[in-house]
């Protein structure tokens, strides 16, 4: 049997779900956090930058060149309120683009190339402190010192501590909120799984509380739709066991009937013998008793073999292995050779040198083949030929036993064709025909292997009994 991958260990359902969900949730949250950080920074920048822009406008309005030089009247009240809201330092510089005039903090880093009439914001470092700078350039009219095309640059900078602090607050709140959502999801998952499994636990309790012989069907109503197929499967399984149990019970009844009858006969014979005084008559009774004993011992072995086969049907597959057919046939032949040779019956084996293997329980297959050969030997005329053969094709292996005996009755063939199982005869068994029970055993064994027994009378006389074993009956049986 090819073994599938090792079965997954019994991991709790909630953990399976959590292992699926939580990493994905975590990934989504980190991604969204990174995205929102970017957005938040942009929003914060645009808000803070607006006040920088306001300050630039205010300074711009207060620049005068009337005195011939460059004059700036700083908007101190604005600066103060600005400084107060920024919670940091505000720096400014008013200069011309030729660098001849600079008012304010001359040490502010040089601005990037500017476009006339446009306010540009950028980050920079000022004495190891991060700053945000707004810069604006416009033409100076009239220019100073008679220069041509001179531009005026206004730069306002503020330290960024407050905006960083603002960002940190917002982001940590976002993270906290996400984390709380994650925890809530995990909690909901656990609670949900717990609640969702409640019907299953109830089902388990119902099964646990059942008496071991209670093989009634279970009502799937009220169970989640996903669980209902499971319940139906359990029901089918229970049903199979019930049917098998029923057959077992019938079998035991039949068997005890069959076993007790010869005992009753023996008892009657003993009682009769005890009444007799004539030694010759007593001897006759004893001989009759011996015959009954022989028959009933044969019957007992057959009944036990049948019970074993039926039992194996319940546990089929447990002892299945690759059985070498050549070795099996050889064993069967050697077992029956003495009884065959006693009547000068010739046994032959017609099998390819490598007859191959089948997947089966060896003891059972041996029993089945042995029964067919036993029947053939019983049926064969003295000096007859019995041929055992093996044929393989893609789907099945056929083990056949061919004899030159009288064959079987049409009635028996009809019963087999109709798919009827041989069973113990209800009436007193006909002692001479031991084949009935033997075939029942073979049939039972074939049922456990997913194979079938085929009987056919041969045109020149004799019986062809064959076992058809599917190549992959293990799979069929499991289905």
């Amino acid at each position: 049997m090819t073994r599938a991958a090792a079965p997954a260990p019994g991991r709790p359902l909630w953990r399976t779900l959590a292992l699926w969900m939580l990493p994905i949730l975590l990934f989504l949250m980190v991604a969204s956090l990174m995205l929102s950080m970017k957005t938040l920074r942009e929003v914060a920048d645009s808000a803070y930058d607006r006040s920088l822009r306001g300050a630039i406008r205010a300074i711009d309005l207060r620049i005068s060149t009337e005195s011939g030089g460059l004059g700036v009247e700083l908007p101190y009240p604005l600066f103060e309120s600005f400084q107060a809201t920024a919670e940091g330092e505000v720096l400014f510089r008013v200069s011309t683009d030729d660098g001849l005039v600079q008012i304010g903090d001359a040490l502010l880093p040089a601005p990037p190339p500017l476009t006339v009439g446009q306010v540009v914001f950028y980050d920079a470092i000022y004495f190891n402190r991060p700053i945000r700078v707004g810069a604006y350039m416009r033409p100076l009219d009239p220019p100073l010192y008679g220069a041509v095309g001179q531009n005026l640059i206004i730069e306002i900078a503020e330290t960024t501590e407050s905006r960083e602090a603002f960002l940190r607050t917002v982001i940590s709140r976002t993270m906290l909120r996400d984390l709380a959502a994650l925890l809530a999801a995990a909690l909901l998952l656990a609670v949900g799984v717990h609640a969702g499994l409640r019907p299953l636990r109830a089902l388990r309790d119902r099964l646990d509380l059942r008496a071991s012989d209670d093989l009634r069907q279970m009502d799937p109503a009220g169970l989640p739709r996903e669980v209902q197929p499971l319940v139906r499967s359990v029901n089918r399984l229970v049903d199979r066991h019930r049917i098998q149990g029923e057959a077992q019970r019938r079998y035991i009844e039949d068997a005890s009937h069959q076993l007790k009858t010869p005992l009753a006969v023996l008892r009657a014979q003993i009682d009769r013998g005890l009444q007799l005084n004539d030694p010759e008559a007593l001897h006759g009774v004893l001989r009759a008793m011996r015959e009954i004993t022989d028959r009933s011992s044969h019957l007992t072995s057959q009944l036990l073999a049948l019970a074993l086969a039926r039992n194996s049907a319940l546990w089929s597959g447990s002892a299945a292995e690759e059985v070498d057919l050549s070795a099996l046939l050889d064993g069967v032949v050697r077992l029956h050779l003495p009884s065959a040779r006693k009547r000068r019956i010739v046994l032959e084996v017609d099998a390819p040198a490598d007859a191959g293997a089948v997947h089966a329980t060896e003891a059972l297959l041996f029993e089945a083949v042995s029964n067919l050969l036993q029947n053939a030997i019983t049926a064969s005329p003295a000096g007859g030929v019995i041929v055992m053969s093996v044929q393989n094709d893609a789907e099945q292996t056929v083990i056949a036993v061919r004899d030159e005996g009288p064959g079987v009755s049409d009635d028996l063939l009809r019963r087999l064709d109709q798919g009827l199982r041989f069973n113990l005869p209800r009436t007193r068994p006909s002692w001479s025909a031991s084949t009935g029970l033997g075939l029942a055993i073979v049939q039972e064994i074939m049922a456990t292997m997913g194979g079938r027994l085929v009987l056919a009378n041969r045109a020149p006389g004799g019986l062809l009994a064959s076992l058809h074993l599917p190549k992959k009956h293990a799979g069929l049986k499991a289905g």
């Binding site: 000068r344 010739v346 032959e348 060896e362 041996f366």
Partner: protein, 225 residues
């Protein structure tokens, strides 16, 4: 002839022993595997009748121990658990014969005699099949008392067959066993040898039976004897 009956069921042991004594055997009884082992070690028996389901040491265990210890006393197994596959396994493990319970005492007696005859013959190096016998010491066959003249190859094949009496031998098995002696042996050669042997035995009630797909079997044709 002295037998050891190893059987734990007292009723069966008693009645069986009575029957066997009535038929001229001397019977000792051991109730379990361990005491049987002691008796076998201490005394000399012609045959052991062994039940399988024994207390203290199962029959199969005892069988294994005896065979491992090199004991050559013929051993007939009696069991009620007559699963056929088990029977084959037992014979493979060294049991000389097998009887399923219940059995007919005549049958048992016949088999006991056959086993003891075989084992005594082997001890003396004599194998017999009806009027045909092979003396290992003298390396010669006699048929009804007359020496049978055979070629070396015929001699070798017939010796294999008589030593494996009742057990068919395939051509390949014959070749395998003779390979040290004959390097150019092939299946056709075996057929030719068997054909010649059959001619030599034509008048005797002993024959070599061909069981196609199984092998050759040497047989005493009792009906014709």
């Amino acid at each position: 002839m002295r037998l050891l009956l190893v059987e734990d069921d007292q009723d069966l042991a008693e009645w069986l022993a009575q029957s066997l004594v009535g038929r001229g055997f001397q019977v000792d009884w051991a109730e379990d595997g361990r005491s049987a082992e002691h008796r076998i070690a201490a005394e000399d028996y012609d045959l052991i009748l062994l039940d399988l389901g024994l207390p203290l040491m199962t029959g199969a265990e005892l069988l294994a121990r005896l065979k491992a210890g090199g004991n050559e006393t013929p051993l007939l197994v009696m069991t009620a658990r007559d699963s056929l596959a088990q029977r084959v396994a037992l014979l493979r493990d060294g049991a000389d014969d097998f009887m399923g319970k219940p059995f007919a005492i005549e049958e048992l007696e016949m088999r006991i005699h056959a086993l003891i005859r075989r084992s005594h013959g082997r001890a003396r190096g004599v194998y017999a099949c009806g009027p045909l016998s092979f003396d290992q010491a003298g390396q010669r066959f006699t048929l009804a008392g007359d020496v049978l003249a055979l070629s070396p190859r015929e001699h070798a094949v017939l010796r294999l067959l008589i030593q494996k009496l009742g057990d068919p031998l395939s051509k390949q098995q014959i070749i395998d066993r003779l390979v040290s002696m004959e390097s150019d042996m092939n299946p056709e050669a075996v057929e030719v040898i068997v054909h010649r042997l059959r001619k030599r035995l034509a008048q005797a009630p002993v024959q070599i039976v061909t069981l196609r797909g199984i092998g050759y079997l040497l047989e005493h044709d009792e009906g014709a004897a």
